[in-house]
Amino acid sequence: MNVHDFLYYIILPILSISSLMVFIRFFKGPSIVDRVVALDLLITIGIGIIAIYSIISNKPTFLDISLVLALIAFLGTVAFAYYLEKRNKND
């Protein structure tokens, strides 16, 4: 079993199942904070899938895409936290 088989048959199914479970939490999520955390985790799993794809296809330029995606995820979480804090103060 080489690295490619390991990535195809073990890591990618784990990431797929976990993304499905996180999506259920994103869909059900009682409060908006749960949904924000689930969205952040969903994007993080996506970054992992992009990293695996860049290993499989042997193209390191794909890692920059995951860098940009990580930036957007971080900024989105910070912006959600900012506006949730602001909304709690206004109420």
Partner: protein, 137 residues
């Protein structure tokens, strides 16, 4: 939002992200990247700074109103588009490339200036939108 972790992280992240955006801009001829993504990364750098240090300080860093970047970028893109007609007598938007690539920057040509124009337009448009939204909330 006044948290010391975000504040100290963003003061280091702003120059690093601007450098990364220029890297993406210069790489975008044959590989992933280009003016649009580079402009978005630069806009994200400024927005992150605005979230941690306040909107007024970020406007102080930018010196101009962000809407000012849009006409400048459009003018650069337009000049790079008509430059083959004026300089070489070729059709509109033909790519003219310099013979020798410059180290670090790479090949210089009219598509690079078109990309720089797109970069400035994207920075101006996205920063204008986001600053207007965060002022009105």
């Amino acid at each position: 939002m006044r948290t010391i972790i975000l504040k100290s992280a963003s003061s280091y992240l702003l120059p690093v992200l601007l450098l990364f955006s220029v890297f993406i801009l210069l790489r975008g001829h044959y590989l992933p990247g280009g003016g649009f993504v580079g402009g978005l990364v630069a806009a994200i750098a400024f927005v992150l700074d605005a979230f941690s240090n306040g909107l007024d300080k970020t406007k102080g860093i930018l010196k101009f109103h962000p809407g000012f970047f849009m006409p400048v970028g459009l003018m650069i893109a337009f000049l790079s588009g008509i430059s083959p007609m004026l300089l070489a007598g070729l059709p509109l938007m033909t790519g003219i490339w310099a013979d020798n690539p410059i180290p670090v920057i790479g090949a210089i040509g009219s598509p690079l200036f078109f990309d720089i124009g797109v970069y400035l337009v994207v920075i101006g448009a996205s920063l204008t939108i986001i600053f207007t939204i965060s002022e009105s909330v």
